[in-house]
Point group: C2
Chain length 406, copies 2
């Protein structure tokens, strides 16, 4: 039984966090821009990274530090991506050194991440200056500040925690995430930091993270770009005292299910917070011959700018759904397809067996005017299905992304 | 020597065109919505079609009619795509029958095309009623009307004609095209009708059209969606009297060069007319190891919504260019890359060997404020290059595509 609890990345036993404004961007507003997460015991550590050929230096440094499957914490800044800029590798290393010095640990004990503008040198000085104070203030109530510190164009703070029982012990998982532009489903498509007190080997943690990422973060689309800085890091310190998960046993499945719940929550939150968006679009493709094809079709639908513009305008334009699926290169029979639009306000069937269904337009518009809209496609071909998440496209997307560096 | 001439699809000897308002959409404004193009002699005919799995009925009918490599003309309507709707195949056939009856030819002598809203049944009655009048009015000055008739969300009429000399004879080529949304480079990405009086076999015409399409229409991106109705048809009636082109000889190369000029013009016109756009974006990737990789990189750049938003805002955000190239899956070394922005107003080097170059921001903004902007990427890796075309992304795109059916 999964239970939602409070505390974010500090919900699990032994984890503390803190963040502060250091001035990475060199100017206000004074929102926290550097965060630290620390475990009081060594953690099994696993991560997934962007597949973009252009990877920011912090990713390479983190890969190196996590190679042995262990870590103690995470240091992260917003306001600068530390990518395609001078001394990026040195700066990423210096962040770990400063975090280590401030906490009495080693640089290799830290995962490091940066998010923000690409191509500008990281102002490492202000981070080095700020970290001792941030470390001194580490607390079990610091998750919210850390979640705030990693936001860039995000409008909402992304934080969650769950508890479950494994072998008679309460195990807790928590996470913070950021992401609203450059979101695409080829990797852990944003920053997400997950902490848990579950006792699990690094191999099993990585396995669970990979499987879950494929079905959650890799199914979110905001704009088809994936950044140089995307990563998702999971730290497990074992302090819950549950029997160590070493195999794909029942406990592993339970833990993975909880992890999927956490990541699904974050994936949906990121889609809903898509830059300038007004609503979360979920596309479910069902009765498919394979999950992979269903996923390709669903992804093509939530990726289509034309559909996204229709969703913004509350237009049940099912023809564009057909066209987007046709572009996906996944096989399907257009003449078999049913398309529904659904939300809190009800459901309409817009397309039956590839052709227009008689449609109550007022009802359809009301359905599409809600904050969460589901495009439900029935292929009538098989037993498999997949769900992808995205958002609508608005004038604000253009405005916000046009003025991002101003 | 290529020379630009007037007359569009009627520039070549023996071609006439006409169009009129028939009321396909059932309501005004009274812009021409049905067009006819006819040759006075039989033509070698070739076509390329959308690769979308959802193909509109007119494409299947045209494929059948052009199977023998010959045709006499084209009948086309805007206002309805005749796709994913009842009786679409019958309607497409009925259009050819009506065109044949009005001109004294056979239904199989016509290519047929439709463009407009998907999912609504074609009002074939008004087209059948209108075609006799349109046929009666066929003239050598009808190209402009025909170009107007195929426009949907297009803001500008797309028409061109060229002449060249082959074997001592003047050969003329002309074309009309439409396209501003659902533009993507997987096929003849819009409607384009090309007429020529060149004497060329159907096989050589098809060969030339395929080669040219790959380097022109297949390199245009507006929004990543390709429609169910895209096609490009070329008709060659041989009336110029040049020696028949039967082989890939020098005359073939000259003809192909002229055809590429015509299609490049149309590809650029379609990109520049991208729904809601304010400028044409050309991305040239040079010094690549292969043309294919250069094309993939350039295509990824002009496809990126983030770059398109930056271009609208006149922000020389070269970091997004790097990221978009990184997403393309084509290999390149980020640390070798130079990125220039160029237009009538001058040139700036924004990125040198993967890092920010000192940049005069006022100058850069002035360059990006022009109607045609070039993003010029030097990979410093080889001898090959490719060019792709796109446009910026504006609030108007969202507004126009959201309200398309209202």
């Amino acid at each position: 039984m999964l239970k939602e609890i409070t505390g974010g990345v500090c919900a699990a036993a032994g984890f503390k966090a803190n963040a502060a404004f250091c001035g990475v961007k060199g100017k206000g507003p004074e929102k926290p821009d550097v965060a630290l997460i620390l475990s009081e015991q060594e953690c099994a550590a696993a991560a997934v990274y962007t597949l973009n050929r252009v990877k920011a230096a912090p990713l390479y440094v983190t890969m190196e530090h996590l190679e042995n499957g262990s870590a103690w914490g995470v240091v992260v800044n917003s306001g600068c991506a530390n990518a395609c800029c001078p001394r990026s590798h040195e700066s990423a290393q210096a962040m770990c050194e400063a975090a280590a010095a401030a906490t009495g640990r080693e640089p290799k004990d830290f995962a490091v991440a940066s998010t923000g503008v690409i191509g500008q040198a990281l102002n490492i000085g202000v981070i080095e200056k700020g970290l001792p104070g941030i470390a001194a203030g580490l607390s079990e109530s610091g998750s919210g500040l850390a979640a705030e510190a990693i936001m860039t164009t995000d409008r909402s703070k992304k934080e969650i925690a769950l508890s479950l029982e494994l072998g008679g012990k309460e195990v807790r998982l928590g996470a913070i995430a950021k992401g609203s532009s450059m979101i695409h489903p080829n990797m852990g498509t944003m920053l997400c930091f997950i902490t848990t007190d579950c006792a699990i080997t690094p191999q099993m943690l990585e396995e669970a993270l990979r499987e879950v990422t494929a079905r959650t973060f890799n199914r979110v689309v905001v704009d088809g770009d994936s950044s140089s800085n995307d990563m998702c890091v999971a730290l497990a310190n074992g302090m819950a005292g549950n029997p160590l998960i070493e195999w794909k046993d029942e406990d592993f499945q339970k833990f993975k299910q909880a992890l999927e719940e956490v990541c699904t929550h974050m994936a949906r939150a990121i889609a809903a917070d898509g830059t300038g968006s007004t609503k979360l679009i979920t596309c479910r493709v069902r009765s498919a011959r394979s999950e992979e094809w269903a996923e390709r079709l669903a992804r093509s639908v939530v990726s289509s700018d034309l559909i996204k513009a229709s969703m913004f305008a509350c237009d049940p334009h099912w023809g564009r759904v057909m066209i987007a699926m046709g572009c996906s290169k996944a096989p399907f029979r257009p003449e078999h397809v049913d398309i529904y639009f659904r939300s809190e306000a009800g459901e309409v069937l817009a397309c039956v067996r590839g052709e227009a269904a008689p449609l109550d337009m007022d009802k359809a518009r009301e359905i599409l005017a809600q904050k969460e809209v589901v495009i439900d496609v029935d292929l009538h071909e098989g037993e498999e299905e997949a769900v992808c998440w995205g958002c609508d496209l608005t004038a604000e997307y253009v405005q916000i992304n046009g003025n991002y560096r101003k």
